[in-house]
């Protein structure tokens, strides 16, 4: 059954942004901006490799149509459309005279109320699962710039071990506007371990655990983060408790 859990999770993640896009398309009016820089380059596509075919001059007004990572599609007064880099177009004014609030300003701190998906992988470094590999799929939501919630569905695979885990974690990231920013993690979850291919007696079966972690976020791009972390978890087994240590590395993206 568990294997379908991955599929269902993936399908839910896939479905979520679709709904959001449909909502946005319902609004016909586009965001109109006035360029305050001396000029803004307009390329034929969202990439460095595309040629510049137009230059928006200071004071000109443009509609912002679409966003792709690092690029915005704009429509000029002439009706032609093209792509401008996020770093150039973010220095613009709205028609009301306020600075445009495009989500391209700093690293982690603008991520409040944003969703994220990602994965991580690592290896257990102590306890019964020592040298077993693990990887997880992550979905997170950040209600505050310094605090996030994350759900994790993962696998544990070793030479004689197979198992699944899931957990819900709270992430505290006090300096989320730094490019390299430390984070603290506290969470609770469930771990279900079997032996493969032959029967090896294991202390850990289907158990709940508490986990604590220390990590470091490195914002490679505005919407892309590399996270290294160390986790220590306390597993409630039948008789007593087992402690596990794991080192992980992973990637996440925000939208």
């Amino acid at each position: 059954m568990r294997r379908w859990f991955f599929g269902v999770t993936l399908a839910l993640i896939a479905a979520a942004p679709l709904g959001a896009v449909a909502d946005e398309e319902g609004k016909a009016s586009y965001l109109q901006l006035e360029v305050i820089d001396p000029y803004v380059d307009v390329r034929s596509g969202p990439g460095r490799g595309y040629p510049i075919f137009y230059v928006i001059e200071q004071g000109e007004k443009v509609d912002v149509l679409t966003r792709r990572p690092g690029w915005y599609e704009v429509r000029m007064a002439s009706g032609r459309t093209g792509w401008s880099s996020a770093s150039q177009i973010s220095r613009t004014l709205q028609t009301t005279g306020e600075p445009a609030d495009l989500p391209s300003v700093s690293y982690g701190d603008y991520l409040a109320s944003h969703w994220r998906v990602g994965f991580n992988s690592g290896q257990f470094s102590s306890g019964e699962l020592q040298s077993s590999d693990t990887f997880s799929f992550l979905v997170g939501y950040r209600p505050l710039s310094w605090m996030g919630l994350e759900a994790e569905v993962g696998k544990v695979l070793g030479a004689e071990i197979k198992g699944e885990l899931y957990s819900v974690n709270v992430l505290i990231e006090p300096f989320s506007d730094w490019r390299v920013s430390p984070l603290l993690m506290v969470g609770r979850g469930n771990l279900s371990i079997d032996s493969q291919p032959k029967l090896v007696p294991l202390e850990i079966g289907d158990e709940d655990f508490n986990q604590y972690g220390l990590g470091l976020n490195y914002y490679i791009g505005r919407n892309f983060v590399l996270r290294g972390e160390y986790r220590w978890s306390e597993v409630d087994t039948d008789d007593n408790s087992e402690s596990l240590e794991v080192w992980k590395i992973g990637f996440s993206t925000f939208f």
Binding site: T66, T96, F119
Partner: protein, 204 residues
């Protein structure tokens, strides 16, 4: 304690649902200063893949798969893949009888990859029409299930992507799936299953 977790997950689910219902209302009430949310973001594409997977110690088989790709930055992306293939009897099995039966004969693989677009540029398949294209490298982790084994898998690969239209992407991939197996030997040894595939994806 199981109840506590179920309770928590249920609550989290309810909160998420409430959030989805409230969001459109909140969007409608937004002032001009946060209207950047009105911009359509194109970051996710979903696709199907077909190709050949050479199952280690077995045959090359037709494989079908699905993928989801999140464009993280101009250069980096995250991709989730699932691939499935039915295995025919290997040469050894034709001689000696099948080693395993039933659902164990289905090769299933899924992985979580990070990709980097090494070369980005324009593809001129026809005159006067430039299509965005890129050569990329991927690496990541996943699981391979075959012959009753579940193995931690490291995946490495290269691929080429070209935008056929604004929304439809064509991807051609080579991937190597590396894992330890003891299917035909008593001792675990490192094996590689290779995948060559092509896929079509729709960018939302």
């Amino acid at each position: 304690m199981e109840n506590w977790i179920q309770h928590f997950l249920l609550k989290a689910g309810a909160t998420a649902l409430a959030g989805l219902l409230v969001t459109p209302v909140a969007l409608a009430q937004e002032t001009e200063s946060t209207s950047a949310h009105r911009i359509d973001s194109e970051v996710l594409d979903l696709g199907v893949t077909a190709g050949v997977v050479n199952i280690a110690d077995f045959n090359g088989e037709w494989a079908l798969g699905v993928s989801a790709t999140f464009q993280a930055t101009e250069n980096f992306f995250l991709q989730y893949n699932f691939l499935q293939a039915d295995s025919s009897p290997s040469a050894y099995e034709n001689n000696q009888g099948r080693l395993f039966e039933g659902s164990d004969r289905t090769f299933r693989h899924y992985d979580l990859l990070v990709g980097y677009k090494v070369f980005q540029g324009e593809l001129f398949a026809s005159e006067g029409r430039a299509r965005l294209s890129s050569l990329y490298a991927v690496g990541g982790v996943g699981e391979t299930r075959f012959g009753g084994e579940e193995n931690f898998t490291t995946t490495l690969g290269v691929g080429y992507e070209a935008a056929l239209t604004r929304d439809i992407l064509l991807r051609i991939d080579y991937r190597a799936h590396l894992y330890d197996s003891s299917l035909i030997a008593d001792e675990e040894r490192s094996v590689t299953s290779n995948q060559m595939s092509a896929g079509l994806s729709y960018l939302f």
